[in-house]
């Protein structure tokens, strides 16, 4: 009969980390960052030019997703250490705001996004129609993906 002491304590399994050199390398030359920015910018410009609901746009979104997945699970970069704990009051502020946004969006979605209560998507899509603005949004999305991989 197992006693309390024999029951292994549940522990959060850490994500498997390989012993890899620091990646991206510390003190990388600014030219490297600039080059990465140019590549991402060019990709954002190309993807921003694809028509919605097209195979090109779908593939254009799938590729960064695949790259991020490969990096996150196969070749993880040096991650920014997460906090050990968060203040519950501070987290609750975020939770309230996010819940309010989702509730506002869900109420619109439930009604079929009518013109008198449009969804966030229907409000943002017209703003993303200009090629330059959509490209900037794609660029920010790519940067966010890189930021999340490092978390």
């Amino acid at each position: 009969m197992a006693t309390t002491e024999q029951v292994p304590e549940r522990r959060r399994r850490p994500i498997r980390r390989r012993e890899l050199p620091h990646w991206p390398p510390k003190g990388q030359h600014p030219v490297g960052y600039a080059l990465a920015g140019v590549v991402l910018g060019a990709y954002a410009w190309i993807l921003g030019g694809f028509a919605p609901f097209s195979v090109k746009s779908l593939i254009g979104v799938l590729i960064p997703g695949a790259v991020v997945a490969i990096i996150a699970y196969g070749w993880p970069p040096q991650r920014i250490p997460p906090p050990e704990k968060l203040d519950i009051a501070g987290v609750s502020y975020w939770t309230i705001v996010v819940a309010a946004l989702f509730e506002w969006e869900a109420s619109s979605w439930k009604d079929g996004s009518p013109s008198w209560h449009p969804s966030l998507t229907d409000l943002i899509n017209p703003l993303l129609e200009p090629h330059a603005i959509k490209s900037v949004a794609v660029f920010l999305w790519l940067l966010t993906g890189w930021g999340l991989v490092r978390r």
Binding site: R13, L58, A72, W94, W104, T121, R151
Partner: protein, 66 residues
């Protein structure tokens, strides 16, 4: 004020509040976490990491492929 305007104001307020919280979180000794700290905490377990990255990808698909 039409209902459409009220809807837009609601979204602006919610998104604006996120920027305010991010600003507050970046002050010294703040109890409010930044969005990066929050995501970092959520992404500690493998499932949290997977869900957050999936959410990021879904946003891209939703706005740029549809």
């Amino acid at each position: 004020m039409t209902m459409r305007i009220i809807t837009i104001v609601g979204f602006v307020l919610a998104i604006g509040a996120m920027f305010v919280l991010e600003y507050l979180g970046r002050r010294p000794d703040s109890k409010v976490p930044t969005v990066g700290q929050w995501f970092g905490y959520l992404m500690r377990p493998r499932i949290g990491r997977l869900l957050v990255l999936l959410g990021w990808w879904w946003l891209g698909w939703h706005y740029f492929a549809r």
